[in-house]
Symmetry: C3
Amino acid sequence: MLQELFTPSVQHALELVGIFVFAISGALLAVRKNFDVFGMAVLAEVTALGGGLLRDLIIGAVPPAAFTDLGYFVTPLVATGLVFFLHPHVERIQVAVNVFDAAGLGLFCVSGATKAYEYGLGLTASATLGLATAVGGGVLRDVLANEVPSLLRWDRDLYAVPAMVGATMVVLCIRFDVLNPFTSGLAAVTAFLLRLLAMRYHWRAPRAWNRRSEASEDEHKATA
Amino acid sequence: MLQELFTPSVQHALELVGIFVFAISGALLAVRKNFDVFGMAVLAEVTALGGGLLRDLIIGAVPPAAFTDLGYFVTPLVATGLVFFLHPHVERIQVAVNVFDAAGLGLFCVSGATKAYEYGLGLTASATLGLATAVGGGVLRDVLANEVPSLLRWDRDLYAVPAMVGATMVVLCIRFDVLNPFTSGLAAVTAFLLRLLAMRYHWRAPRAWNRRSEASEDEHKATA
Amino acid sequence: MLQELFTPSVQHALELVGIFVFAISGALLAVRKNFDVFGMAVLAEVTALGGGLLRDLIIGAVPPAAFTDLGYFVTPLVATGLVFFLHPHVERIQVAVNVFDAAGLGLFCVSGATKAYEYGLGLTASATLGLATAVGGGVLRDVLANEVPSLLRWDRDLYAVPAMVGATMVVLCIRFDVLNPFTSGLAAVTAFLLRLLAMRYHWRAPRAWNRRSEASEDEHKATA
């Protein structure tokens, strides 16, 4: 089954699923920020395609896939339409969205790292670009919406780490010459499951030493 | 007359006009945000050249025109100087600025789509990049000024749609092989007039279904 | 001594120092914004490498140096670790950080302008890219942290001007064919010293005409 997972057409279909769910998260944030339907479409496109766009600019793959594959462009518009008409339902199924988003994360960290290596980057750089592909769209989404990127906030469940693990698995497989559809799939599934576990058990990353005490001082100042 | 409109030198002059008025809007925002004169210059440059820069990076036209044409670089500095010394007057003539900005919008959506197609992108991608060229600078301006991009806000008159219409007209003309100075000019003028009408009659785009009721809930929470 | 300053290995070491101190400033901002350790690492990397990344994308040097030189990538992580465990001490030595940051500024405006010229850009464009290399990372840092870029704020000591002077000195040396390790070093040292003086004497740039009176009006509105 996993072998089949990475025939070109199936992989393309999976990428479209990832793009779709990322786009849903962008459109939903636009609704929360009270943007109009065009703002929703812009945020959906940026969230879904921004990470890959960044990667393609950096590795010199121009024009980026986001601008050569019509399916990549149209999918976020479909997501926008869905959110536009159904967003109370879409918000209600937030759990499902989170699961799909985790799937997108797993998929993109693997495909991003693989593509970067194919374009001649080193192993560390490929892993970094896998991570950037997976999380870049969400960061751009939050920057455009004028919010602190949820990637950076300590009060959110781990998001970068699962993608980091998946991308690192890919480059380790490359290093030891065992990258194949099965190991690729394993890396994607690992990232996916780690993210699900992080959400389930609210795994968080530590802040800098002694931070808590100072944070309460900050609150003090804020209320003063 | 429109034939003449697109001889290289006249087109260049028109682009400089577009750059100039976009730069004015950037410098004015910098004044409102209380930035110093260098902040004004940065915001003027970014607003005027950001959209084209983004397009050139994506289509692989490096170094981008913004860095090879001295006139493109100097024009925003002139605009900055003008706003620096005259900004109460410049703000008073906001109507004129808006009209010029609309002209810039019309011009850039056409030149952006045309250049993207010349670099081998497909029709949909070319239209998208025409739109990105026209609105990208303004989005970067707002992001740097730490504001929600006015492009995305529902309470602003339609801005993206006129550019979208202009860029779409261009790619349709390409598709049916009738792109010439006259039809290019027609697309630019159409976008220009649509933007003027949107401002005159406060055309706005809808927000997602049921949004209004929830917005008032939000206000509730905010005041609570 | 200055001759030695620009042998490849010494220059590389100096660039790593610049990257390190820029990364410190990114990690410290992350601590102040209450980000977790991964947010600190992201902000450190972006601050340290963002300016050079931007330059490399614009001049078409892909993959950018940030992704081909492992030392460039690892240095910000070391800075993150240091801030993570020692940040109260790092903040206490803010003066030292500022001095190093000024050194990074001087170094990057020179190396940025030089590299841009080597890639075929004109003199004005090279000077601009020298400036962008030196200040770009800090702007990206502030945008990601959802703050108004300190580069643009009038109430901060001059930061862009020293880099502008340094980059301009480089292109003037190129223009008059006297660019050598000594003049390069002189440009870097000039930018460095100007920045130190700007901090020591709180040099600031003027805001637009009549701005002060309106600023107090703004405060009025804010308190109303």
